[in-house]
Amino acid sequence: MITDRSLAAWEIVSVTSSVLIAEWILSASAGRSKLIVAIPAALAFILVIYSHVLRGEKARDLGFRFDNFLPSLRLLLLPMIVIAGIALVIGFLSGSHPDFFRWHAERLILFQLGLGFGWGFLQQYVLQSFMNRRAQIIWGRGKASVLVTALIFSLLHFPNPWLMLVTFVGGVVWAFVYQKQPNLFALALSHGIMTWAIVSALPPSALNHLRIGLKYFA
């Protein structure tokens, strides 16, 4: 009989492999068509949602709630300021000046921030409401599950070295805060703002347009 811990590990591996398949195999061979990449993404979402149902997880447990929005944001504020400050210093030291309109300059910044929030929400949902919670089934609350969540998040940004570094640091902060105050809205807000700060502060050449997977080499 398969144990709950083994099953949780299998779930983590399955969703991680879907993302890696999309990033590395399908996006490389699909050319400009994004449709084929949607297949492993859809399969991953089916698994994530069905898993919530089978495990009896409610939306509130997963972080779809507002009652702890401010406490969650309070926990996030200091690390966000510190990381943004470090990014600015690294940017200055490498001769790059901050440009807060650099992130998809062809779009209105408010629209781009909205997209960043939405994309961040999706990522945080999979990362925290699924990966983090499954990691907690295996290792319990605390350092191990936080580190594993952050490592997976970083791995999914391979081989972009700067992005892997910042996603690991961000992953630790977000996974820790989620375990204290599970609120996806606060995490998505933080995700969007931190992406904006990092893109604005670090040299564009270092981030390589946030490309990951095989597209990093394009």
């Binding site: 009989m1 398969i2 709950d4 099953l7 299998w10 779930e11 399955s14 492999s17 879907s18 398949i21 195999i25 399908l26 061979s29 699909a30 050319g31 084929i36 297949i39 492993p40 399969l43 089916i46 698994l47 069905y50 898993s51 089978l54 495990r55 009896g56």
Partner: protein, 144 residues
């Protein structure tokens, strides 16, 4: 989590793996056919310190001349079009005309053993993708 839910989750995980494996296999097969021209025929006849020679024909388009690239010891050496006079290829009914040969001047090489490879350049994806397809077998030769 009860045993029924657990069994359902296991079934879903297995089904998902099978679908993804089939998807990857389908993409791999499609990618192979998109990036490979099964109608290319050719031979690398000879290589020495003076020249590397052979012929290549695209049987799906027998009147076009194939672009070829020479690599010596895994390093790119030269590119050319296979449009040299080779009546023997035509006589052997491997081509519709006499002009499918290639001749490369061998680059300056140190004494010792070397290996020449000639690749046909195959364009796909409306010209956005270019892949190399080995012509014949690698040819090993020695320079004294």
């Amino acid at each position: 989590m009860n045993s029924t839910s657990r069994a359902r989750l296991v079934h879903l995980l297995i089904s998902k793996s099978i679908v993804e494996a089939l998807l990857i296999a389908a993409v791999a097969v499609a990618f192979f056919f998109a990036t490979t021209n099964p109608y290319l025929r050719g031979v690398l006849d000879a290589a020495d310190k003076g020249a590397v020679t052979g012929w290549v024909v695209d049987e799906s388009r027998p009147h076009t001349r194939v672009e070829v690239q020479l690599f010596v010891d895994d390093h790119f050496a030269a590119a050319a079009i296979a449009d040299q006079f080779r009546p023997d290829v035509h006589e052997a009914k491997r081509a519709d005309d006499d002009w499918h040969g290639f001749v490369f001047n061998t680059p300056r090489l140190s004494a010792g053993n070397h290996e020449a490879r000639v690749y046909a350049v195959h364009s796909s994806g409306s010209g956005t993708r270019r892949t190399l397809q080995l012509i014949g077998k690698p040819y090993r030769f020695r320079i004294e």
